[in-house]
Every structure is written in structure tokens, then in C-alpha cells.
């Protein structure tokens, strides 16, 4: 042992203190071991949770006990739905990350930060606008939310001749709408709105002025999305086509092929028409030039994130965790996405000689978009067919839009969301097989498409699809044209050439690549 600085007596004391401490530790461990024998734990789980968790007052009569139990069961039933919707909101919210990665990967490096910012801020701007105005317009008259407490609070729909057009309650979630169920419902609905609003950020990428985008965000969240959404989901006239015009169950869109995706995709199309193609995209004779994305691996990760989130998007649209059809909905969703991806891959392989990665990703998403409306009403093989058609349709749409109509869509948003959103809404009217949907929109009987004799349902779908096209195109073409006239929505050509990051954002996306970074004193 090294020579000690302390006198021997002090070292002796240190050794004694150490021994005393060890003895105390051993005694404490022994006490703990024996002390815990007082109450045993439950490693199998069979004795955790039981009648001791339901408080029944002493001396209750059997009917009082039954009433207590009934209360408890009812509360649990609603609680499951709360957990279900909460989970769904988180999953759909996470799709923001998927869209951000997908779109940024498909665009050029010099615009990466700009595309990221539009995808990020659409969530900020959109939620604010939906909170103040949009939610009230969309769901002010939706009626009691049966699975979340069932109180008749959202009961003010503005109607004309009995047909609903928009809601008039719940603005800024004020007054009686300060309710646990309505707040949760708002959370679930606002993330759907953001999905629609984020779609045009891809279509208009790489030449859109950020200030113009901000105003678009407010307009989409506060007016365009909620009004059409009210007609389909908020108790408005498209949903009433069943009870009032005997057309099937009225226009149906389970999770939003048209309300969310066609809305976003067609709005994007209108924006592209007003904005114009990117500089250098088309040669003088009109043939398109390739502007390759800068990070396809990240775009593929984004696609995978979107599939993950879509399980929430579709399945949780049952709005009821005890509605076990959710098992079918979730699997239908996955089937359509995979059949879509494979169909797109094979189509591109045959057509170009390569299994195009970016188109395979688009095919997967097209399948998801197309199954979003019919997912609760069709079977597995129906989903496979819908997804396969979507996968081929998206490739054909990308080529047609670009080559025939000179539409410059950097990420294929119009083909994936616009075209396939409409296909999904129509597919519901064809493939719905009558195994679900009893009583939806106030019409008795299950939902049947044309293949099962439900021709009136198909007609309702076609009316809804036509309405969607007319509404979105008229509203957004006007919006973009007027906005362009007032403030100009496209960046200047030299800004576009240099890149929107360093100009509009004031910094490049990948600063470690900036040569000779000088810290300004």
C-alpha cells in the first residue's frame, strides 16, 4: 500500500468507518428482503385489476350496484374511444414529418429549407386558422359526438331549404365547446386538415413565394377545407343526399380521399396553373426536362412514415375504439398501399427499363389515397384492386399531366392526391360490399356499391366527386389568380435560379457545405 499522508490512528479510523458502513448496508438489504414479504407483487397479472377497482358503497342494494356497474362500463367504453382518437391524432400528426421528408427529397438541394419550412409552418398556420374559424365552419352543426360523450353541443348548422352548408358554432373552441370530447375531436380533425393543406406545398415547390404560401395556409384552413368538409362530414348537403334524395347513404368518404386528398391535389393543380412551371422545366418545343430530386432516400423514408401514420388516418376514422371493423380498415389500408407500390414499380420497369424508386413511392401513396374513402366498406380483394389501379393510374397521370398538359409538379402531388383522391371516392361507389355502414348518414342498411347493386350509391359518389372538382377548382383558381394580381405569388426569376433557401429563407439548408464561412464581427 502507498505511504499514507495521514497518521496511523486516522487511517485506522477510516478502515473502521468503512467496515461499519458495509455492515449497515448488509443489514439494510436484509431488512428490505424480509420487509417486502409483507405484501407480494403480481408477476402474472392475474390479480391486478378487479372488483376492488370499482367502488361500490357499503350496503348498496343489487339495483344500486347494477347502476354503479353500468356507470363504470359506460365510462370505460367512452374512455377506450378517447384513447383511440388520441392515438389516431398522434399518428396522423406524424404524417407531417412524412410529407416534409418526401417533398424535400424530391426537390433540389438549393430549395430544401424552403420546402421544409412550408411543410412545417403549414401546421402552425393551419392549426391557428382552423382553431379560430375552420373548425366552427366545418363541425359547428355536426350533432352529438356519440362515441365521445354524446352531448348535443355542436348543433348549429346554417341551412338553406333544409340542406346544410356550413356550421356556426365552436369558433375558437369557446363557450360550451370547451368540452373534453370536442377538444379531442378538434385535435383529430385539425391534423386531417393539415394533411390537405400540406399537399400543395409539394405541387408549388421551388418557385412559390413564402409570404403567398402563408396566406394560402390561412385560406385553406379557415375556409376552403372546412366548407367542403362540412358538406361531407359536418352534416351538410352531400351527406344528406341519402335521407333527402334517396341516393344510397348520401355521399360517403370514410377517411377523406376527396375531403382531404382531392382537395389538396386539385388546389395544387390550380396553383400550378397560375404559378407556371419551374424555370427551365420545359424546352421551347414543350418537351419536359428532368429536374432530379436531391435526396430520394429521404423521400422514401418519408413515404414509410406516411404509411405508418395512415394507419391512424384510416382506422381511427371509425371514431370508435370499440368498432372492431377497424381491423378490416387497417389491413385494407396496408393492402392498397403495397399493391399500389408494386403496380407502379412493375409499370415503370416495363416502360422505362428501371424500377423507378420515386414512382414506386408515389404508387404506394396513390394506393393509400385511393383506399382512404372506401377502406371501411370494401374487402381485402377490393382493396388490392383499388390499390393496383391507383399504382398504374398515378404513373399514367404523372406522364399525362407533364407531357400533354405541361403541368410542372415537382413531387407528383396532383397525380397522387388529386387524381387518386377522386378515384378513391368513385371506387367506394363500385366496390362497397355491404358488410358495414348500417345507419351511416341516417340511412338504414349497409353501404353497397354498384358491384353489389348499389347504383344509387355510385350516383351519390359521382355527384360528390363532381362537386369536389367544381368547388376546389373554382375556389382555388380564383384565390390564386386574385392573390397573384395583388401580391404576386411567384418569386423573381433570379431568386428561383439561385435557390429559395439563401434568398427567401436567408440561409442555406446545409450550412456545413458553405465554403469560407466567415463569422461576421
Amino acid at each position: 500500500m502507498a505511504g499514507s499522508v495521514f497518521p496511523i490512528s486516522a487511517r485506522d479510523r477510516k478502515v473502521k468507518a468503512y467496515r461499519l458502513m458495509m455492515a449497515l448496508v448488509i443489514v439494510a438489504v436484509v431488512i428490505c428482503c424480509f420487509g417486502s414479504l409483507a405484501v407480494a407483487g403480481d408477476p402474472t397479472g392475474t390479480s391486478t385489476g378487479g372488483k376492488t377497482d370499482v367502488a361500490v358503497p357499503q350496503g348498496s342494494s343489487p339495483s344500486q350496484k347494477a347502476a354503479t356497474l353500468q356507470d363504470e362500463v359506460g365510462h370505460n367504453k367512452i374512455s377506450i374511444n378517447f384513447v383511440w382518437l388520441f392515438l389516431g391524432a398522434c399518428l396522423v400528426f406524424f404524417m407531417q414529418a412524412g410529407f416534409a421528408l418526401l417533398e424535400t427529397g424530391f426537390c433540389q438541394k438549393k430549395n430544401a429549407l424552403h420546402v421544409m419550412m412550408t411543410n412545417f409552418m403549414i401546421f402552425g398556420i393551419g392549426v391557428c386558422a382552423f382553431y379560430f374559424i375552420g373548425f366552427g365552419l366545418m363541425f359547428g352543426g355536426v350533432g352529438p359526438l356519440v362515441s365521445l360523450g354524446g352531448k348535443a353541443i355542436l348543433n348549429h348548422e346554417i341551412t338553406i331549404g333544409g340542406w346544410g352548408f356550413f356550421g356556426g358554432k365552436g369558433f375558437a373552441l369557446s363557450g360550451p365547446t370547451y368540452d373534453v370530447g370536442i377538444f379531442l375531436f378538434f385535435l383529430f380533425q385539425v391534423v386531417f386538415m393539415d394533411t390537405a393543406a400540406t399537399i400543395p406545398t409539394g405541387a408549388l415547390a421551388e418557385r412559390w413565394k413564402f409570404s403567398a404560401f402563408c396566406i394560402f395556409g390561412v385560406f385553406m384552413a379557415a375556409f376552403a377545407y372546412p366548407v367542403f368538409g362540412n358538406w361531407v362530414w359536418g352534416g351538410g348537403w352531400l351527406a344528406q343526399l341519402g335521407v333527402k334524395a334517396h341516393l344510397g347513404h348520401g355521399y360517403l368518404d370514410f377517411a377523406g380521399s376527396s375531403v382531404v386528398h382531392a382537395m389538396g391535389g386539385l388546389a395544387g393543380l390550380m396553383g400550378i396553373i397560375v404559378l407556371g412551371p419551374r424555370f427551365g422545366k420545359f424546352k421551347k418545343d414543350g418537351t419536359p426536362k428532368a429536374i432530379p430530386g436531391h435526396n430520394i432516400p429521404i423521400a422514401i423514408v418519408g413515404t414509410i412514415l406516411l404509411v405508418f401514420g395512415w394507419f391512424g388516418f384510416n382506422s381511427v376514422s371509425t371514431l370508435n375504439g370499440g368498432d372492431l371493423r377497424l381491423g378490416i380498415v387497417a389491413t385494407n389500408t396496408l393492402l392498397a398501399s403495397c399493391f399500389g407500390a408494386v403496380a407502379a414499380m412493375l409499370y415503370m420497369w416495363k416502360k422505362t427499363g428501371h424500377p423507378d424508386p420515386s414512382m414506386s413511392a408515389n404508387g404506394c401513396l396513390a394506393g393509400l389515397v385511393a383506399i382512404t374513402a372506401p377502406c371501411a366498406y370494401v374487402s381485402g380483394w377490393g382493396s388490392a384492386i383499388i390499390g393496383s389501379i391507383a399504382g398504374v393510374l398515378v404513373c399514367v397521370a404523372v406522364f399525362t399531366l407533364e407531357r400533354r398538359f405541361k403541368i410542372d409538379d415537382p413531387v407528383g402531388a396532383v397525380a397522387v392526391h388529386g387524381i387518386n383522391g377522386l378515384w378513391g371516392a368513385i371506387a367506394l361507389g363500385i366496390f362497397a360490399d355491404g358488410t358495414y355502414g348500417a345507419g351511416v348518414n341516417g340511412v338504414s342498411g349497409t353501404v353497397r356499391g354498384a358491384l353489389y347493386g348499389g347504383w344509387s350509391q355510385l350516383l351519390a359518389q359521382l355527384i360528390g366527386v363532381a362537386t369536389c372538382i367544381v368547388f376546389v377548382c373554382v375556389v382555388f383558381y380564383s384565390f390564386f389568380r386574385i392573390q397573384d394580381r395583388i401580391m404576386g405569388i411567384r418569386v423573381a426569376p433570379d431568386v428561383e435560379l439561385v435557390g429559395l433557401d439563401t434568398t427567401e429563407m436567408g440561409m442555406p439548408a446545409y450550412t456545413d457545405e458553405t465554403p469560407d464561412l466567415m463569422i461576421i464581427d
Binding site: 428532368a290 430530386g293 423507378d356 420515386s358
Partner: protein, 112 residues
């Protein structure tokens, strides 16, 4: 002293480094460059549209050698980078006026 600039395929770098080390020149500088000779570039595709990558990535090696080692160095470089296909690269030799080692201040052949 002569400076040898060799523009070669990037995947050959490891072997070239070893080879130059063996003949006594472990110290080199490399730059990532792009270019093409008589071949026109690479055709790639993006969503069904073809595009031309005009400039192909290559690596430029610069090494300064003594006059008497010039031919041996070039032999090594050629042997280790040649594949026989278009795009193997080129080597240029220029005269070096002076060379100085920064650490010691040595001039001339002691600096190499």
C-alpha cells in the same frame, strides 16, 4: 523536381496510395474533380425523363517527385489505374521551381 497530376477513377485511389507509398512517395494531395474526355457523359433518368450527367466525378492526384523517379512514378500510376475502358484518365507533368517543407524549412529535394 516534377509535379505529376493524374486524373483517375475514384475507386482506384486506395491501390494508387499503396503503390506510391511503396516507391517512396507516401505524401500526396487529392482533389475531387469532374470532367469528361471524348466520352459524352452518363445518361440517367428521373420519372421517365432522361437527362445527361455531362461531367463525371474523378479524382485528381498531385504528387511532386524527383526527376530521376519520374518514370517509375508514372509507371506505377498507369499500371494501377488502367482498366482499358474509356474514362481511365490522363496524367500531366509540369516542372517544379522549388519545394519547401513547412515544418523544418528545408528547401529542394529534402522537402520531398
Amino acid at each position: 523536381m516534377k509535379k505529376v497530376e493524374a486524373i483517375v477513377r475514384p475507386e482506384k485511389i486506395d491501390r494508387i496510395l499503396e503503390g506510391l507509398s511503396e516507391i517512396g512517395y507516401p505524401g500526396i494531395t487529392i482533389t475531387e474533380v469532374k470532367g469528361h474526355g471524348k466520352q459524352k457523359g452518363l445518361t440517367q433518368q428521373w420519372r421517365g425523363n432522361e437527362y445527361l450527367v455531362k461531367f463525371i466525378p474523378k479524382t485528381k492526384i498531385e504528387v511532386v517527385v524527383l526527376d530521376e523517379d519520374l518514370h517509375r512514378t508514372i509507371d506505377v500510376l498507369v499500371r494501377l489505374s488502367r482498366t482499358g475502358n474509356m474514362g481511365d484518365g490522363k496524367i500531366f507533368v509540369t516542372h517544379v521551381e522549388e519545394a519547401v517543407r513547412v515544418r523544418t524549412g528545408d528547401w529542394g529535394f529534402k522537402a520531398i
